[in-house]
């Protein structure tokens, strides 16, 4: 956005205090914001104290503006400038000096206590050194610049107010530039636009850039009349005057003007008729005349006699030739609309073009007209007088057509396919229309073979001939007769000496082919060439040359195309073998780069392959290939490769790294890069993986072998750890309870006492004594006794009991005194722990009972113990009993202790053996393992009564399920406990 022409200025209301200047400024900015947009807003951001808002946003702007507007309204709303700068928006010449004055208003002095001494000058946001200031009086401060090159926009006058607050007073835009230079080299040309309209275009050199808006005006006038200026559009160095008049001198000059001055070019005075570039003649036609060497041109001029006389320039060439010939200028130096071109070849097609200009040579040549062709007439029969007087005017074709062949021996080794071809005679040689060609083929190896004749109208003939030496002749026949014969010897083999030092190089936009003649006398040479292309077959062109020539310019060669050139020397008695060379008339960089890819990628090397560019893509001789490869963040490495190669191995690569590779093909005239190809080198080299994997596998096998051996040797130990002996629950029974004192715990004879299979399981009875109050001291005595006896087991719930007391028979046994014995038997006698939970602060009593069972407790059972005391533990314990009880099938629904009571009924005298009673919760009460039946009965009675609040103890059920001892299934449950001890039955 262009800087505002009137930069923001600080202003104040008449009644405003200086401290409110910011508010006034904000108001002013609000007004200007509506018209000046974002630029002002940016300035506003810099000036308004609302910069205290971090993270400016529009809401903050709006709020701040509203505040300032409100303040403005409150203050009266009248604003005045507090000062200004003179000059306003100056335009200065680069290098000149400049002084600006900042003039403060008196009104600001009155209430603000501000003076010129407080003024600071700034360029943009840079403070100008105070050395450049000068306080002229109390209201005026000046700043001087000795060189305006250091100036920039804006130049602002600011003041340091109270509190060191800097306020902007005024700002100006300073424009620095140069005065315009005098335009030079003014020249004009009148273009003919149509037959009646002309325009004059003048051009000039505008000079150096002025850095300012500089207006150029093309001025022109007659002696008595001036015209409106021509103002260039989009350019500053030319202008076109649409209407001009001839034969009136006009003075033309250019005026350049900018804010720093004006400059005028030197005027030129001319008559526009002298600078006309006319339109070229049109409707050119070429007509043949009776004379075969003359063609008549006629045309129309688009500018004529009233305006100017014309002279012409006529050029012509034989069609197919590139060299133009011109009619002598003196022959066409006057106005005309036709011309007879003489001295042409008979029966030859020519191309003509014409241009014109003012007859006196003033002005400009027109463009060349469109080309038109015409053909001269045949020489025959045209003028008998000429024929009679000039015997050299031969009616027959003057020479035989050049003859050549292409032999294809690929079909059969015994015969050739011979493509005979000859060139049509030039019109000047043919002397008329060639009616036919007559060929004769003679087998020179066999005199008896008849001469074969062929009459054709085309210029080629294909024959199937047996291998041999042939002589082929061809003559061209026109209406007047036959041409001399052209003879070609086709030897059985090209065994003669070839040309030497064959070379081809461009010269003067033509391709020159040169060679060194062989030592033998050469009758003639045949030069063959064809355009090599991957898309089409090589179409051979050829030319015969005399034997004394050792070079030729081949015409019609296309640039950037590869040609295969072959030179054959023809001898009188045979033919030399051909020598070939490839050549380009012009080379260019390849049209595409090679596409590279990897053939093999290793750890530190990669084999790259690419396809050669086709001959159509090469556009020149490929001098080399360049391989460029790099890692993602590495430098590019360049390798130059011989163009004959299609494979290259990159070495010294970094393993496990992504490489980008591309390939460039270069000719003499440039290079072209192919697409990028990426590959990643391998992490391991060839054999490295094997070197790692094989030892690892071997080591693994060795370890496995050792492990197997170890396991085999330690199979018993492993068996014990992995597959512990699980006793058959069906054979378990409690052989003996051992609540004896430790002294009596001599289980050495346990095996005898508990024969194998008599005890199959261990039962744990936990009696929680939460409500110990319900038990009498007598009830607890047996437990105390048991506690004393089992002093070593106390506090080791993991011994034989505890929470998981039976999970490890060995541990249980280890707590006993005779662990050695028990460890060595499968029918280990184990302890059961009867835990009485302490009542209140009393220590719970543990009572150990002993079982012969080696049945480990299941996890569920252990968990159920963990939940001892909870109301939910009962079913778990029932489950436990069910698992181990033999009568589960008949009493599945009954709680475990009911079954226990059944047993108790069966052995009422041994109620002490009722050890598998567990009562949990508040209703659970420890049952005394008293010695006396009465006590037990009483205790049981108490227990039953006490637990009447529970849901499971129902004496009537006990009665209903009374079983005989014999009927009792073998079970881990203590079936018989003798009075006075825990002795099993």
């Amino acid at each position: 956005m262009e800087a505002p022409s009137h930069p923001p200025r600080l202003s104040t209301g008449k009644k405003l205090q200086f401290g409110k200047l910011n508010l006034q400024l904000a108001a002013r900015w609000l007004i200007m914001l509506l018209t000046s947009g974002e630029e002002i807003l940016q300035d506003f951001r810099e000036r308004i104290p609302c910069r205290m808002f971090s993270g400016w946003n529009w809401v903050a702007y709006g709020f701040c503006l509203l505040l300032n507007v409100y303040s403005l309204e409150a203050s009266g709303g009248l604003v005045q400038s507090c000062g200004h700068i003179i000059p306003e928006s100056p335009v200065l010449a680069i290098g000149s000096n400049f002084t600006a004055l900042c003039i403060l208003n008196e009104s600001c002095l009155d209430f603000g206590n501000i003076y010129a001494s407080q003024i600071i000058w700034k360029i943009k946001n840079r403070v100008i050194p105070k050395e450049q200031y000068r306080e002229i009086n109390r209201t005026v401060s000046s700043v001087t610049f000795n060189d305006t090159s250091s100036l920039a926009t804006p130049l602002t006058c600011n003041i340091i107010a109270d509190g060191q607050i800097e306020q902007n007073i005024y700002g100006i835009t300073v424009t620095v530039g140069l005065p315009p230079e005098k335009p030079k080299n003014l020249s004009c040309i009148v273009h003919q636009l149509s037959q009646l309209t002309y325009s004059m275009t003048c051009t000039w050199d505008p000079g150096t850039d002025t850095f300012l808006d500089t207006q150029f005006r093309l001025k022109y006038r007659w002696a008595q009349e001036s015209f409106p200026d021509c103002i260039p559009t989009d350019v500053n160095n030319s202008c076109t005057i649409p209407d001009i008049n001839f034969f009136v001198n006009v003075e033309i000059w250019v005026e350049a003007a900018n804010a720093l001055g004006k400059a005028e070019s030197d005027p030129i005075v001319l008559d526009p008729i002298d600078i006309v570039k006319p339109l070229s003649p049109h409707n050119l036609s070429v007509n043949s005349e009776i004379v075969p060497t003359v063609l008549m041109l006629s045309w129309e001029n688009r500018i004529g006699d009233p305006v100017m006389n014309l002279k012409f320039n006529i050029r012509y060439r034989i069609i197919g030739d590139t060299n133009w010939m011109e009619i002598p200028s003196e022959d066409t130096a006057s106005t005309r609309t036709s011309f007879n071109v003489q001295g042409l070849r008979p029966y030859t097609e020519y191309v003509f073009s014409i241009r014109c200009m003012k007859e006196d040579g003033k002005g400009y040549w027109s463009d060349w007209s469109e080309e038109k062709t015409g053909i001269t007439t045949e020489a025959a029969f045209h003028d008998i007088a000429v024929v009679e007087s000039n015997c050299k005017l031969i009616r027959k074709p003057s020479k035989g057509p050049p003859l050549w062949r292409i032999i294809d021996a690929s079909h059969s080794p015994a015969s050739w396919t011979v493509h005979l071809m000859w060139k049509a005679l030039k019109p000047s040689e043919a002397n008329g229309v060639i009616l036919q060609y007559e060929l004769t083929v003679r087998d020179k190896s066999s005199l008896s073979c008849p001469l074969e004749k062929y009459n054709v109208t085309s210029t080629n003939l294909t024959l199937q001939l047996p291998n041999g030496t042939y002589e082929v002749t061809v003559i061209a026949r026109n209406g007047a007769g036959a041409s001399p014969p052209s003879v070609l010897l086709i030897p059985a083999s090209n065994s003669k000496a070839p040309v030497k030092n064959l070379r081809a190089l461009p010269k003067y936009d033509k391709l020159w082919v040169g060679w060194t003649a062989p030592n033998s006398y050469v009758l003639k040479y045949v030069v063959e060439w064809c355009l090599l292309s991957s898309r089409s077959a090589c179409i051979i062109e050829w030319q015969t040359l005399p034997g004394d020539v050792q070079g030729i310019y081949i015409k019609g060669i296309k640039p950037f195309k590869c040609y295969l050139i072959t030179v054959y020397p023809l001898y009188a008695d045979g033919q030399g073998s051909g020598q070939s060379v490839q050549a380009y008339l012009k080379q260019d960089r390849p049209s595409k780069g090679p596409t590279v890819q990897t053939k093999k990628v290793g750890k530190a090397e990669a084999v790259l392959t690419w396809n050669r560019l086709t001959v159509d893509e090469q556009n020149g001789f490929i001098r080399n290939y360049t391989i460029l490869y790099k890692t993602i963040d590495g430098n590019e490495t360049v390798v130059t490769v011989d163009p004959s190669k299609t494979e290259y191995t990159l070495s010294s690569l970094t393993s496990d790294t992504l490489y980008t590779v591309r390939m460039m093909a270069s000719t003499d005239n440039g290079s072209r890069t192919g697409p990028d190809f990426t590959f990643t080198t391998q992490k391991f080299g060839k054999g490295e993986i094997e070197a790692i994997v094989v030892p690892v596998c071997l080591a693994f096998l060795l370890i496995v072998l050792l492990a197997v051996l170890f396991c085999f040797n330690k199979r018993d130990l492993i068996k014990k750890h992995i597959w512990p002996i699980v006793p058959d629950p069906s054979k378990s029974n409690i052989a003996q309870w051992s609540p004896q004192v430790p002294a009596k715990h001599n289980f050495s004879s346990k095996d005898q006492m508990y024969p194998e299979g008599s005890f199959t399981d261990v039962s744990v009875v936990e009696i929680e004594a939460d409500d110990k109050k319900s038990f009498s001291e007598q009830d607890l005595k047996p437990f105390d006794l048991l506690k004393k006896e089992k002093s070593t087991s106390e506090g080791h719930s993991s011994g034989i009991g505890g929470s998981s007391c039976m999970s490890s028979p060995r541990q249980s046994v280890s707590d006993s005194d005779d662990s050695e014995t028990t460890q060595n038997t499968s029918s280990t006698v184990q302890y059961s722990t009867v835990v009485l939970n302490g009542y209140r602060d009393q220590t719970p009593v543990q009572v150990f009972s002993r079982s012969e069972s080696t049945q480990p407790l299941l996890d569920s059972e252990e968990r159920s113990e963990d939940h001892a005391g909870g109301g939910d533990s009962t079913p778990e314990r029932q489950q436990y009993f069910r698992q181990n009880g033999g009568q589960d099938e008949t009493n599945e629904d009954r709680p475990c202790f009911e079954r226990t009571k059944q047993i108790a009924h069966a052995n009422e005298g041994d109620l002490v053996g009722f050890v598998q009673l567990q009562i949990s919760g508040q209703s659970s009460q420890p049952l005394g393992l008293g010695m006396e039946k009465n006590i037990r009965e009483a205790a049981l009675s108490n227990v039953l009564q006490t637990s009447s609040e529970g849901q499971t103890v129902r004496p009537e059920i006990v009665e209903e399920n009374t079983l005989s001892v014999d009927e009792m299934p073998k079970s881990y449950l203590p079936q018989t406990v003798r009075q006075g001890g825990y002795m099993p039955q």
């Binding site: 009646l196 008595q224 209407d243 009136v248 000059w253």
Partner: protein, 212 residues
């Protein structure tokens, strides 16, 4: 002035010339290469051709090519001729001054009838510029010719009012102008303009000794 005789007249002429030089600023004050007689003759020839083409076009464009109504034998008095006698070029001055004004009228009239950029306007403007160019050349060739009036005289009060009449009058003027220019061009080709200059030169030469 008349009472004071010739010196005052000279003084007045010099003052007038100085005033003109002072009044015309900048480039206007620069002397311009004077036109040649050949240029002017070529211009007259060109204008004759152009006038004929303009009339033909105008007659056709304005649909007036009926009964040769434009081809009057009574041209305006200022286009009556033929121009005879010496100084043919010099005698072209007054007809061209009048033609300049007449073409302005025709152009203004055609501006009301034709769209901007119309071919008739382009041709009329081109002819008008030729007329002014010829006046410019004549003024250069014959400085003694009075300068052209800076503003055209008011149109004749008896001028035509209807469009057709305006067209017809324009057409007749163009016809008369074409004939006049053809005659002038032919006369110039036949006699050339040199005689006038030669005569003036000889007159000036014979007069020179008489100058004070």
């Amino acid at each position: 002035m008349r009472c004071h005789g010739r010196p005052w007249a000279v003084l007045a002429a010099v003052t007038k010339g100085l005033l003109i030089l002072w009044a015309v600023p900048g480039q206007e004050g620069r002397p311009l290469k004077a036109p040649t007689v050949q240029q002017t003759q070529a211009l007259v020839k060109l204008m004759a051709e152009d006038a004929q083409e303009l009339f033909t076009f105008y007659e056709k464009d304005q649909h007036l090519a009926i009964h040769n109504i434009c081809r009057t034998n009574e041209p305006p008095h200022w286009l009556q001729g033929p121009v005879k006698g010496p100084c043919v070029l010099q005698r072209l001055w007054q007809p061209m001054v009048r033609m300049d004004q007449a073409l302005q009228d025709i152009i203004r009239h055609q501006r009301d009838l034709s769209p901007p950029g119309a071919e008739i306007l382009r041709r009329l403007n081109n002819t008008h510029r030729n007329v002014r160019g010829l006046l410019n050349n004549l003024a250069g060739l014959f400085p003694a010719l009075s300068p052209r009036p800076s503003h055209r005289p008011p149109p004749s009060p008896a001028g035509p009012t209807s469009i057709f009449k305006q067209k017809l009058q324009g057409c007749r003027i163009l016809w008369s102008y074409a004939r006049f220019m053809a005659r002038s061009s032919a006369q110039l080709e036949a006699r050339g303009g040199r005689r006038c200059r030669e005569r003036r030169r000889s007159q000036r030469g014979s007069r020179t000794p008489a100058r004070p």
